[in-house]
Subunit: 345 residues, 2 copies
């Protein structure tokens, strides 16, 4: 019997359709490793620094200069940005419609100078530098009064929207808080006001208690397949302790997050033959800063709980999902967690 399940954070219902149950080998996507692409001329490779827009920041060896080799992780503007970084917000109404200028930041985090080195094959310390880069950019962009939010995301593989195969993540800062984040924020607040507890903390407690959907845990982090997973093998990584902002994560915890992220991506790779995936980082939105008063408007949302959502791209969105916002997931999260736990890493 299929089940309808509701995600308490987004209040999204999902159909877990056991009639169409699918094991890892039933998904027949080509493996991302097979996406051959010439390394020659890749603008993200070490030595080709001149082929990208200028460097915003980088983790580099002491004494090396911007836009030259010597970096481990490097951040540049996206060459074809979806939003423009100059100008004002200009909120406008046109009859029944609202609009504003498309200002924002659109940056690329080049994860390594090496063309074929992906997170599962990096050292924990290198993965930590990528996470450091996320933190640096979010912290920097939240000082820009025009922006309400910075969303960090990764597209891995063509099916997941990557146009270059060189390992990279991206971020987009926007003058509005994106819809899905807003939904999580407002539901987390409602829950907190009612219960004086964080909804994420409650879920983590319940997940750790049952263990059914837990895939990995270390001292600070836990990774699990959510109860109302929208997609087969969807995985969330959350800090065990209540923390609203990724960007204020202490350095020693970031290394444990790197370990967790690497472990999970390795399990996905081995379990599903290197599938395409996306991940997104949901942190609390930008406060509106004023000199000496970081929380001037009381805008820091302490009742949020940051997390990373990982979405393997194994199924297609069809008319029903587009029209309803209701997902049909052919693999139960309990089954998915079992397969992922069984992977030897």
């Amino acid at each position: 019997m299929p089940e309808l399940r509701k995600d308490p954070i987004s209040e999204r219902w999902v159909i877990i359709s056991t009639e169409r149950a699918q094991r890892p080998s039933d998904f027949s996507l080509p493996s991302v490793s097979e996406e051959a692409e010439a390394v020659k001329g890749c603008p993200f490779c070490g030595g080709n620094e001149g082929k990208t827009p200028p460097e915003i920041t980088a983790w580099r060896k002491e004494g090396t200069k911007p836009n030259t080799p010597g970096w481990d992780v490097r951040i540049v503007q996206n060459k074809f940005p979806a939003l423009s970084s100059v100008g004002d917000v200009n909120r406008t109404g046109m009859g029944v419609f609202d609009m504003m200028s498309g200002i924002g930041a659109h940056e690329v985090i080049i994860e390594t100078p090496k063309h074929n080195l992906n997170i599962p094959d990096m050292s924990d310390e290198h993965v930590e530098k990528i996470l450091w880069a996320y933190k640096q950019r979010i912290s920097d962009l939240e000082k820009d009064n025009r922006f309400r939010y910075t969303l960090v995301f990764k597209n891995y593989g063509k099916v997941a929207g990557a146009s270059l195969s060189h390992p990279h993540s991206q971020l987009i800062a926007t003058p509005i808080t994106p819809r899905y984040v807003k939904l999580e924020l407002s539901n987390a607040r409602t829950y907190f006001l009612e219960k004086e507890r964080c909804i994420f903390c409650d879920i983590i407690r319940q997940e750790l208690g049952s263990g059914q959907r837990v895939v990995f845990e270390n001292e600070y982090f836990v990774a699990f397949t959510p109860f109302a997973s929208r997609f087969p093998f969807e995985i969330w990584i959350v800090p065990r302790r209540h923390e609203f902002g990724f960007q204020i994560l202490p350095d020693e915890e970031r290394l444990l997050l790197a370990q967790c992220l690497k472990d999970i991506l390795m399990r996905l790779k081995k379990c599903l033959n290197d599938p395409p995936y996306n991940y997104v980082l949901h942190t609390a939105p930008n406060p509106i800063p004023r000199p000496g008063k970081p929380d001037y408007w009381g805008t820091i949302q302490y009742d949020f709980h940051w997390h990373i959502e990982i979405i393997p791209r194994l199924t297609k969105m069809a008319g029903f999902e587009w029209g309803s916002g209701l997902y049909i997931n052919p693999t139960s999260p309990e089954e998915a967690a079992k397969y992922l736990r069984e992977v030897k890493v």
Copy 2:
């Protein structure tokens, strides 16, 4: 300069990214016509009625029997239904989580006995029979107290999720009102309570006034590219007159809807080289019926305005869209409408 635009019905923001502007020829998907597939053995072809689950209803020649040839449009249960049609809803809580049994209906509307005849090449009268089938099934399923909503949708082409190329639509009836429909319903109600006017009617007036985004109109219907289109060449078909329910559409109007739908799908086909697409029908949710009292609970939502949303599948969803719910659309709706109007049909 890119623009951020807000759809007043769903309150969804969209990025119209002119830096990445794309004309029809820039989308390089294979044409659906090239998806060769053997006709032989197709369960939806005329003569193969025994290969599908039993017929639920059909538009047939007088004197012909169910599950035999002689039909123009035929409705059967989906062979691999996402939801089960037997059983009760069984709403259950599990700690912080909610769930219910996955009951529902999942049916296939086979649009013609001919394997290669798609809507643009059918007669208006035949297209009207498909719409009649939608109406029949929605009206019938809304009598089932377990179901809150029936969503009719079509997947055209593999990229859009079609697993068989024989022309067909589908419907899924669910024990909840799907999230996107709920959002439209609640915003339409809020707007009506504030202004005593339908938000769709206001938009239609504004669209017809400016004409910039109008693609087609006849006496009863108008098709336009929405101001905050999520996708390139997204098109909505709406009745000009305020009508909350597709299923109560008078017969003579249905023929004009058939004309409009056929015209629009023909324009899409010619303009974008037969692209994959989805369409969905959003009508008011089921009332809860009792003998002699069709609106027993006052549940008919008269302030809604039914419509069809057509989504060509020209771009990929990537991490940003998944993580934010904010779409990046590389073609402005004004440009898209211009290209579609220029098509000779």
